[in-house]
Symmetry: D2
């Protein structure tokens, strides 16, 4: 199977290597073309522009860093639109907002092309190991055709229906995560202030029905006050805001998520927005972080 | 090692059988003595009264159904107090409130006896499999001496310090659980109302960092509206109330737990108190459960 | 003093009559011109179009029903922009969102005109009695010049700084109102469920430091389940959402407003959005309104 | 009409003077008897002990500082119980908890006496001016008989039914107050952080439907960071806790009060418990009060 691949950042590089390793013919492009060299050593061809990649390949996958980059490869000169047509499929695996995704979808489909949004859950390590979770939405026939590629890239892929549903699913997941993190933080603080050893709480939780990788990972770092950002608090709060807005549109009351969102806002007001989202723990302390 | 064992309900029967199976000499007592027969077939001796068991055994373990039963075996005629002394240890594994535990502790220790409270996390199946988690507090020397028994009964035991800390740990754990269940319920409802398939959300969550046995167990039953009580909602709400009271004593703000508690109270007001605590999901529905 | 006046709805008619009664020369325009007749009987002149009014008058006041109407009188054919110049002042007293207000402001000022947004607090009765509260923002010199008109229209006017601040002030006020209404509703429900007579609570509140016209007005109607909309619940919820968004921009945690917002969302999910905002009381009831 | 009067603190002195001024014959007692002198100058008689007062007077009113003092005058040697009988009525106007009130009620009625609890709303100034609000509960016939005294002491009295309802009404009122104060604090903070002048918000609120004496009094002091305690924050939080507990008993969800309670707890954790309850405003600030 032959695919185009746009974007060779941390994620894109790992993913295109995986495809090559599994026998796919891959034509790569990257804004800084020199980044293509390593891929070429592993058997990739090079496309000079996004348009050139699409011209050559029936299926083109992209994973770009942000909405402007995602829009640029589509709409700019030598972009995808110049070569898209009813024999081509475009799969955007970047994490972008629903508006950006819709704009790209409309442009592709209005020229007869087929489109899938397919944001992923998982970062560098799962990308290297082919263990991503893929949240695809858009053209179902295209989804079925590129499944062999998804099977290489991820441990599981979902087809979620119309364009936008991939982004929505990420919001619901991240909202649940934000509330869970607050539940955990309050538990740790209550244990400590009640004369219990918080480490014991972590151990007890880990032995029971609530045991999960996030608690296992974040519990010890919270106790060490190590908030090196894996997922920045301000991004977590933004996702909770967007999830609450989604609930607002659909008249879904979410009192616990709303309370969690306010805790993250409190953390932002304390200047913790760039730290890891587990730093919401600091909002429960008697005194602001400056003096603790 | 020889131990007395008081209370042969679902938990006590499984636990005493485990002790017998691992070579402990066990003298059992139960309010309804006929319940002792099966244990006798497995090698247990019978004590006629709690006092008789204590008289015979250096260590006596009890697991009774509720605070009145726990108090009764200690304070009533033929109760433990009649035979307790400085050579005896009493280990109460019942789930009781801190006041009950303190009352028992004071009575035992004032007569020279040694005392451990040791409530467990886990129900019938873990009891049978020796996979309980034991939250012990009180006399440390006694804890060390009965560790061989705890090793048979549980996969892990904790010594948490002074009497009361076992009960507190359970509250902190259950509070975290109640907030997590609300986070989960809101996520499922938001998914459904936003045009996503809630089953997809369960699958995505199960593949990620939040994956945990509780979500795995309760997700499907929530989608089936099956609220057969494993842990009744009214007990969950009571534990959240007590955890919030513990936070109040120690000036710990817990806004997310407070919001979750109100959701459980809303559920109680809808008549759902006797259902499983996952029925808090119903409070998020457009119309009360009577018409849904 | 001569002023133009655009829009003769309930508010505009009462306000322009007040100006006439106090000796202002008023040139009126309304989309349905026949509505001008009554004003003419009280001494008003008629302008054929918004542009004609602006051409004739140094100051033109408008109070339109909604953002599209507010934009239309400015941007459409025969609209204000055709005659605006550096000798003219335009005062928009409509209640519109900040974006609409900014769009109008930019168009007016880019042509040299001066602009004030001036939404009002108060409805029909205060408009008739000249007892409005005017929340003006924009051009301070223009504000000072039209103060004689504001003094006739309102009991008090505020100059709040740059364009947008008038809309923001309304949001802050309405957010406070929404939280207060929830506080009140919870109090009434708690009184009733605790065996107290809710009417006694209303009387006690009315005799103390919290006594206010809103409680006095809404208390009896809540007890009668009379939710005839004075301020529709869905508009209250929208204002809370916008106020929370404003707080989000500025990293202001507002846990109580967030909880109140969720209660209003719950009410919307129960189908109460078109009723009065005091219908949030229904969310506290044991069973949904359909069966109560 | 002749009444006994026990307790001549700030409140009791003002109240007994009012009774004398309106022609009542008053027999006073105070733990420190010298405090009776001023009353004697205004025409009062002195009773040597509570029992002596009750022996002399058909109706005895008490207003003591706290529950132990309230219990002491009833149960101690020379206390009320020694002379109470079916021709006597005892009216306790102290602010005590429901348990204390019940204990006193049972003791009085079991000896044939009649009892009213009658806590008041209002402090020194309203006491002097006869403008208290009286929340009476207990024996209705006794209430009717002492109405002439209540009419002198208060601007309004309520008969609320069975003993305990007076205390409950105070909790409901104070819960509403605590939520309102949070709504107000959040509004002031949002105004300030959004570029509005908070003083303008106070002025706008004061001109509208939410205008109330509490906002009028507390708004300016909040802006001055003047938290001299009129009603200590820790007492406000305690009343919210008790009101939430009352709601818990009766399955009343109160999400806004719960969020407000957590804000007061946060304030306590910041060391603000002894300041005025309006100091909850400080919890909304970017940095803890130590560094602001």
């Amino acid at each position: 199977m032959e695919v185009g691949f746009l974007g060779l950042g941390i994620m894109g590089k790992a993913m295109s290597l995986n495809l090559l390793r599994h026998g796919f013919k891959v034509t790569v492009w990257n804004r800084t073309l020199s980044k293509c060299d390593e891929l070429v050593q592993h058997g990739a061809s090079i496309g000079e522009t996004p348009a050139a990649v699409v011209k050559k390949c029936k299926y083109t996958i992209a994973i770009l860093s942000d909405p402007p980059a995602a829009l640029s490869v589509v709409f700019d000169k030598d972009g995808i639109l110049e070569q898209i047509n009813n024999e081509k499929g475009y799969i955007d695996m970047s994490t972008v907002d629903a508006d950006t995704s819709s704009k790209i979808s409309e442009a592709i489909t209005s020229r007869g092309g087929r489109f899938l949004e397919a944001p992923v859950s998982g970062s560098k390590k799962p990308a290297e190991d082919g263990q991503l979770v893929i949240l695809a939405a858009g053209n179902k026939a295209l989804y079925d055709e590129v499944l062999p590629a998804f099977d290489v890239l991820g441990k599981k892929s979902f087809f979620l229906g119309e364009v936008g549903n991939g982004a929505k699913m990420k919001l619901v997941v991240n909202m649940t995560m934000g509330s869970m993190m607050n539940a955990f933080a309050e538990g740790i603080m209550l244990a400590g202030k009640s004369g219990l050893n918080p480490q014991n709480l972590l151990d007890v939780l880990d032995l029971g029905a609530m045991s999960n990788p996030m608690f296992k990972l974040k519990g010890p770092t919270i106790l060490q006050k190590n908030y090196t950002p894996a997922f920045p608090l301000k991004h977590q709060q933004k996702d909770m805001r967007l999830a609450l807005a989604l609930g607002d549109e659909n008249a879904v009351p979410m009192p616990v998520a709303a309370a969690a969102n306010e805790a993250f806002k409190k953390a932002r007001s304390l200047g913790l927005g760039d730290l890891d989202f587990s730093a919401v723990f600091e909002t429960l302390k008697p005194i602001g972080p400056s003096s603790s």
